[in-house]
């Protein structure tokens, strides 16, 4: 009856959670919360910045002419796909057209008449060129443009807006020196949202697959969005494989330990309850959860499997399950509360993803503990095999009891651990988030090669312009442009793309308007310019009308520009944050960042070189300080809770001392093997400490009953084996984050088990307890 109710509740919860749980995939949830406007901007840029949304594409494996055709076909297909904001393959040629919405503004946008005015001489030179155009093969295409645009300003603007540093053209499209056709495509989806990126990538591949006559040509993709998908898939695959393996191992382990299928099945219920409770808490608190939260959350919740294991191992034929749980409960309760406190530390980190993790793990551990105490015992079979009678266990217990326990050993280990931690060479902390990337080095190398071949903007450096308004940013951008060109010529960087490249400031537009000739002057100039050329009289009346119209137009504002198809590019370079406006200059191939930073600092505020890597490293370091504080607070709470539960510092010392020493030893081992610590190592150390605390708690409960002590040993051995199974398999994963966690926890569990066994109060001489 109880079982049916329990299962029904779980099923109902499971259904409700499945209906409401939204799984997020944006990796930025695991970045520290931004503190300053610049950090907020950085966080925004990391996800949504133009650089992070740029996919670099290469088509290779076919004759150049075929590759060029495929490149054109793919570019045309992607331009029609709303998932892509911008596609470029070098094919933006002579005949690229200006967006019709910008047509009337062309004389305000073009810088070509800043130096030489639109006068008779300029017009005459242009008209001579047009005559040659009419005799050229492009005549039929240019002819319709002539009446309204004799200087071909529309084409000049389109060319001006083509990417600043383009690869070599073959067959009209970009080619690498290795003979691959190159393209870039900017997705609408943020770069670090693997789910959205996967959709865009699937569309991209489908578009390529739909091209006719592909032959042996293949499409290669690179860029942040692609990497986030690769990482997501690698982690998912790894987690799935490990999950399947450890589940099988776990079942076999429990069957071997308890030789009872009902015990096995019932023993799984508390953790299942915990998992569903955790998910429910996430749905209630956040409406959803991050995919990584779930993956780590289930790992952390694995600790709760220890509660039913303890209950199962401590059953004896003499007493009912309900009675034996009652005897075990004070310890279990301490274990549950201390785990909840340890996991609670993640909440104080302030990182959204870790906060979700804390909510999930704490709710899950509490629910699993309560289920173990109140729901599980009445359901367990009445007749059980005493775990104390497990063959070989008595022999093992005697051997372990007989181990020497020199009093100086802990002190020596402590000294050795501290020495290793303090003296090991190499950095203590790993601040470079890139070190944790599970992206294969070959893919990173390919990305670097493609990026260089394409002259794609640097992902590390950006120029940050700050001003009180959007137009002020544009003015600043215009002011900086000549100096940046100087820096380009000096080889400090290859190219810079500032927002003013797309839209001049209002003041510049007004100045250009003021310089445009009025109708009478233009008509007179045109008459002079046409002299000796065979243009039909009155042909250029539309041009005269357009110039007249441009003189009276209200200047184009950023908001209006952003409504045009090109607007997405400006929108990504001109952003507002906390009442300030920021302009983001994309930089290509920054060769001397120091000189660039120096120049930026000398511009009198408002300009700075944004180094995403350095900023994110400082940020990670600052935020680690906060996590360490949270950990210190939770350690204090833990000591307090254990001391209270064990009614005094003496017994608490027996529990806390091995736990602390084992944690230090694990840390020392990591240091001695040259591993720089990341956030994930910290998480893993805490997880191991939680497990170790349990071992120490139960070993500390010294009993005169040798059978009961054998049950404790049995339970602990099953727990240790289970933990080693799970984390040992994580340790051999190919995902650096999982490997770091697995290795650290497996190491920690080993130390915790050994030390809690050796440092437990030991009143019984070897063999005397039997």
């Amino acid at each position: 009856m109880l079982l049916a109710l329990w299962l029904a509740t779980l099923a109902a919860l499971g259904w409700a959670v499945a209906m409401h749980l939204r799984v997020e995939t944006d990796l930025r949830a695991f970045l520290p919360p931004p503190r300053t406007p610049v950090q907020r901007l950085l966080l925004d840029q990391i996800g949504k910045g133009p650089g992070s949304r740029l996919l670099l594409l290469a088509i290779r494996g076919a004759p150049a002419a075929d590759l060029a055709r495929l490149s054109q076909g793919l570019a045309a297909a992607l331009m029609r796909d709303p998932q892509f904001v911008l596609v470029a393959n070098g094919g933006e040629d002579l005949l690229s057209r200006l967006d019709p919405a910008l047509l009337p503004y062309r004389y305000l946008l073009t810088p070509r008449f800043d130096a030489q005015p639109l006068d008779a001489a300029t017009l005459h030179a242009a008209l001579e060129q047009r005559l040659a155009d009419l005799g050229s093969p492009a005549a039929a295409l240019l002819e319709p443009l002539l009446p309204s645009d004799p200087t071909l300003e529309t084409l000049a603007l389109a060319r001006r807006w083509a990417p600043p540093q383009a690869p070599a053209l073959h067959g009209g499209v970009w080619f690498s020196s290795q003979g691959a056709a190159l393209l870039v495509a900017q997705t609408r989806a943020p770069g670090f949202d693997p789910a959205a990126q996967a959709t865009a990538l699937a569309a991209l591949r489908a578009r390529f697959a739909a091209l006719p006559d592909r032959g042996a040509a293949r499409l290669e993709v690179s860029g942040p969005g692609y990497f986030s998908v690769v990482v997501d898939q690698t982690v998912r695959r790894s987690v799935d494989r490990i999950g399947a393996l450890t589940t099988i191992g776990f079942v076999l382990l429990l069957l071997a330990a308890y030789r009872s299928v009902p015990s096995l099945l019932l023993g799984a219920l508390p953790v299942a309850t915990g998992a569903l409770a955790g998910l429910t808490a996430l749905v209630l608190a956040y409406g959803g959860a991050h995919g990584i939260t779930l993956a780590f959350g289930f790992t952390l919740l694995g600790v709760a499997q220890e509660y039913p294991i303890r209950v199962l191992s401590h059953r004896s034929p003499a007493v009912s399950a309900v009675t034996s749980v009652r005897a075990l409960w004070p310890l279990l309760r301490t274990a549950i509360v201390s785990t909840a406190i340890a996991y609670g530390a993640f909440y104080a980190s302030g990182v959204p993803g870790l906060q979700q993790l804390a909510v999930f793990a704490v709710a899950g551990v509490l629910a699993a503990g309560l289920a173990t105490r109140w729901l599980l015992p009445p359901l367990l079979p009445v007749r059980v095999r005493d775990a104390a009678d497990t063959p070989g266990l008595a022999w093992l217990a005697a051997r372990l009891d007989a181990l020497p326990r020199p009093r100086w050993l802990p002190a020596l280990l402590l000294l050795a651990a501290l020495a290793a931690i303090a003296l090991a060479p190499g950095p203590f902390w790993q601040n470079d988030l890139g070190a944790l990337t599970p992206v294969p080095p070959a893919l990173l190398a390919r990305d670097a090669a493609l990026r260089q071949a394409l002259g794609a903007p640097d992902v590390r450096y950006q120029l940050l312009l700050q001003a009180p308004g959007a137009d002020a940013v544009l003015t600043l951008s215009e002011h900086l442009a000549p100096a940046l060109r100087g820096l380009e010529q000096r080889g400090v960087l290859a190219a810079a793309e500032l927002p003013s490249r797309y839209l001049p400031s209002l003041a510049v537009q007004r100045a250009r308007q003021a310089r445009l000739p009025d109708r009478a002057a233009l008509t007179a100039d045109l008459a002079v310019a046409e002299r000796g050329l065979p243009y039909r009289p009155g042909l250029f009346a539309p041009f005269v009308a357009d110039v007249e119209r441009a003189r009276a137009l209200p200047p184009l504002t950023p908001a209006a520009f952003e409504r045009t198809p090109l607007g997405a590019r400006l929108a990504s370079m001109l952003v507002t944050q906390g009442g300030q406006w920021y302009g983001l200059g994309a930089l290509v191939d920054v060769r001397d960042p120091q000189a660039l930073a120096h120049w930026a600092d000398a511009q009198g505020g408002g300009v700075r070189l944004l180094d995403l890597k350095a900023t994110s490293e400082q940020w990670v370091a600052a935020y680690r300080a906060r996590i360490l504080k949270a950990l210190a607070a939770s350690a204090f709470l833990l000591v307090l809770a254990v001391t209270l539960a064990l009614r005094g510092p003496r017994r608490a010392w027996h529990v806390l001392a091995p736990m602390t020493l084992a944690t230090l030893l694990a840390l020392a081992t990591l240091r001695a093997t040259g591993i720089a610590l990341t956030l994930f190592h910290l998480v893993a150390l805490i997880l191991a400490a939680g497990l170790g605390l349990h071992y120490a708690l139960f070993f500390e409960r010294d009993s005169d009953d040798a059978a009961e002590r054998r049950r404790t040993l049995h339970a602990t051995l099953v727990c240790v084996a289970a933990a080693l199974l799970v984390f040992g398999s994580l340790a051999v994963s190919d995902v650096p984050v999982l490997r770091a966690i697995g290795l650290t926890v497996a190491l920690g569990v080993g130390y915790h088990f050994a030390l809690s066994l050796l440092m437990a109060p030991h009143r019984h001489a070897a063999g005397a307890g039997r």
Partner: protein, 168 residues
Amino acid sequence: MRYVGVLTRPLILHGELAWLGGAQLERDVAAPYRETTTIDGNQVRVVRPGQPPQDFDLGRAPELKGLLTGFRALLSGDAALLRATFSVSVSGDARAWTLQLTPRDAALTRRLAGISVDGSGHALRCLRMDQSNGDTSFTLLGALATSALPATPTPAELATLCAGGPAP
């Protein structure tokens, strides 16, 4: 010779037209200005002295692509390619013949009304391209290119010349 709607008199260009084999063609204008156009497959590059080269794709200029296909098919003797793109009618005799090419593709017809090729024996004399918008161009080849022409020849005069008539 190009007759363009927006101009009051025809454009007369002198230069060389060379077929480099395959899909490659070079067109050098020597007078009244200098310009070199190279066509390779679908890619056209126009180079004028003192200016950056301009590139464009023939996909955007179907009439030109049709003309080139016809020209290539003629020079390489690829009758199949010629008939695949155009309906072909022949008139005249071996001494003075005319091929009238009408595009089969409806999209091409919107831009290109037709091409006629005049020749005598194995030599090409004239290429005439009629665009659907009324613009017409004559390319006089071989001996005809150097023949004396009036300052502003009319299309009719040129047609006669191409057909083997006397120089106007």
